[in-house]
């Protein structure tokens, strides 16, 4: 790449001290960014009595894996929340991508008569919204989605911004391919599924990851529509555990009552178990997240 060649020329310029300072500043910033995670991991591996006495620390104090063994003794609630979150994320992401791609494809077609009207309908929802109160009353009151898994999936499944992303992407596909497929007798649906979609895998991956991150980290819908703890998604369970000592006790009561119940270190172990694996996966898929941010124009 010509870019990196000139970059290399530029970096050869003698500014060693400045470079060292830049590296130091960036190393500190990078450390600050991951420091809270170290804190949580260290506390989860610490002896609870030491934590209560000496406070939190970035290295485990009185190293023990007791908290993790404690969680694994009775993982029912955790596993149920994991399962539910996986289900919500999988269906929400699949549905969201399919619906957004379909409408995005149609809106990208210049020969579509309703293109203007429908595009306006999509864009207008980005400008104006009813907000929380009417949404709550409609989802819970009119649709009756109380304590229903659909309340976690449907209300935020279609995201206008992602529709516009798809529209912009499909507008960029060479129209000649479509036209020749049409002459070979392909219908609209077949063109969408067998030509447009396979040509879009990078975008499907990026928008899919955005959906996955959104659904995985979401808790507001759970707080609004879910009371049954069998339907608690991970983030909401985590929040309940930390905010609600009583909830922790009720979970613990369900286990054998004779064991000591660790406090802060157990909370932190719950954080690691509930949030850690997903963080780890997201970290390795980072470059796919970034693609859409640098794409710039979203217009067709």
């Amino acid at each position: 790449m010509a870019q990196s060649a000139t970059m290399r020329v530029r970096s050869k310029r003698p500014f060693p001290i400045a470079k060292v300072i830049i590296h130091m500043v960036l190393a500190i910033v990078a450390f600050l960014c991951v420091m809270p995670m170290l804190l949580v991991i260290a506390t989860s591996l610490s002896d609870d009595l030491v934590v209560a006495k000496d406070g939190l620390s970035l290295v485990p104090q009185g190293f023990t894996t007791y908290t993790y063994r404690f969680i694994l003794q009775n993982p029912d609630q955790l596993l149920r929340s994991y399962g539910l979150t996986l289900l919500v994320t999988a269906t929400g992401t699949a549905g969201g991508i399919l619906l957004s791609a379909l409408i995005g494809y149609a809106l990208a077609r210049k020969d579509f008569k309703l293109r203007g009207v429908f595009t306006f309908l999509v864009i207008f929802t980005m400008l104006f919204n009813g907000g929380m109160v009417p949404t709550y009353l409609i989802v819970r009151g009119m649709l009756g989605l109380h304590d229903n898994i659909l309340a976690l999936i449907l209300p935020t499944m279609v995201i206008p911004w992602y529709i516009m992303m798809f529209r912009s992407h499909f507008s960029g596909l060479p129209y000649e391919i479509m036209e020749s497929a049409k002459m070979d007798g392909a219908g609209e649906w077949r063109m969408f599924f067998q030509i447009a979609m396979p040509l879009s895998t990078p975008w499907l991956a990026t928008i899919g990851l955005w959906y996955i991150l959104k659904y995985w980290n979401e808790w507001v819908p759970a707080m609004m529509y879910i009371e049954d703890n069998r339907l608690f998604p991970l983030q909401y369970l985590l929040q309940q555990i930390v905010r609600n000592a009583q909830f922790l006790r009720s979970v613990a009561d369900a286990m054998t009552t004779q064991v000591k119940i660790p406090g802060l270190s157990l909370q932190m172990a719950m954080v690691v178990v509930a949030a850690g694996p997903a963080m780890f996966v997201f970290m390795f898929l980072q470059k796919y997240f970034v693609r859409g941010l640098t794409a710039g124009a979203v217009k067709g």
Binding site: T6, K19, V34, D111, L121, N129, V133, V158, K182
Partner: protein, 324 residues
Amino acid sequence: MAIAVEGQTPKKRAWIERLKLGNRDKFITNANLALMCLPALAMLIVFNYMPMFGLVIAFKDYRFAKGIFGSDWVGLNNFRFIFGGAGTGWRIVWHTVSYNLIFIFTGLVGSLALAFLINEIHTTRASRVYQAMAFLPHFVSWVVVGIFANGFLRHDGGIVSKFLLTLGREPPYFYQSPQFWPYILAAVNLWKGVGFGSITYMAGMIGIDDELYEAARIDGANRWQEIRFITLPLLVPLIVTVTLLSLGGIFRGNLEMFQMMVGTNPLLYSTTDIIDTFVFRSLLTLGSLGLASAAGFFQSIVGLIMILATNTLVRTVNRERALY
């Protein structure tokens, strides 16, 4: 088209004829495309458009049994309650706007600074590591961020408290002291968003033509002058665009952040209560739908005006980035 000219099979020629004839096929095409739009549009109608009409409850005395459209009209009563004398209306509006201004400013400065620093050592492997680590907080849910913050700020054993103790200073009770929270929230917002925010600016920097730098170097410019007179001026349209787009959302607060950082802690409301937390709380705990709906109505209308205004400005700066 090449294919059309060379396609000599009778089948293809027949298709071309039909495409020319067209009307029936055009109708079928349009009907199919409309069908493709239908599921997403149906969702938008139910979850986006119906709530818009539901905004009328701000002018009603909502009763569950009567529903949104059956409840009685009460005129501006709800608004009088919240924006009148003792109401908290103006306070939450002020908080929402001023926090967003703080976030936009700190975010801009932080993201730009990080982008510049990483760009300076662009080719090194270490820069990739820094970048990846700075991006990591973007993946952390606000629930977990709230737990992180507690680990730093709690009075008994929090990292910040311990640090102050080693300096020989008595740590304050952060969760009872509203005066610290604008700084805390600004810091947390920066922490979570700076790596993400710097990506846009780094893309902008990579897009700058290298010939400009070479020309400057021939003229004897040093690295700082290159930044000052080439990079920064060329980034201005991008900076203006990003800032304007964020200003469009200035009346919309980050509910997840405030709810997880502060939660329902009335001791901190005097500096941390924003429209969204007020509405959320009124809706779920107090059950006072009148006040919540009036605040929400105000937010929706003013939000629309802000977005229309800023988007008009964005169109003049950078048409490609405008929403419409």
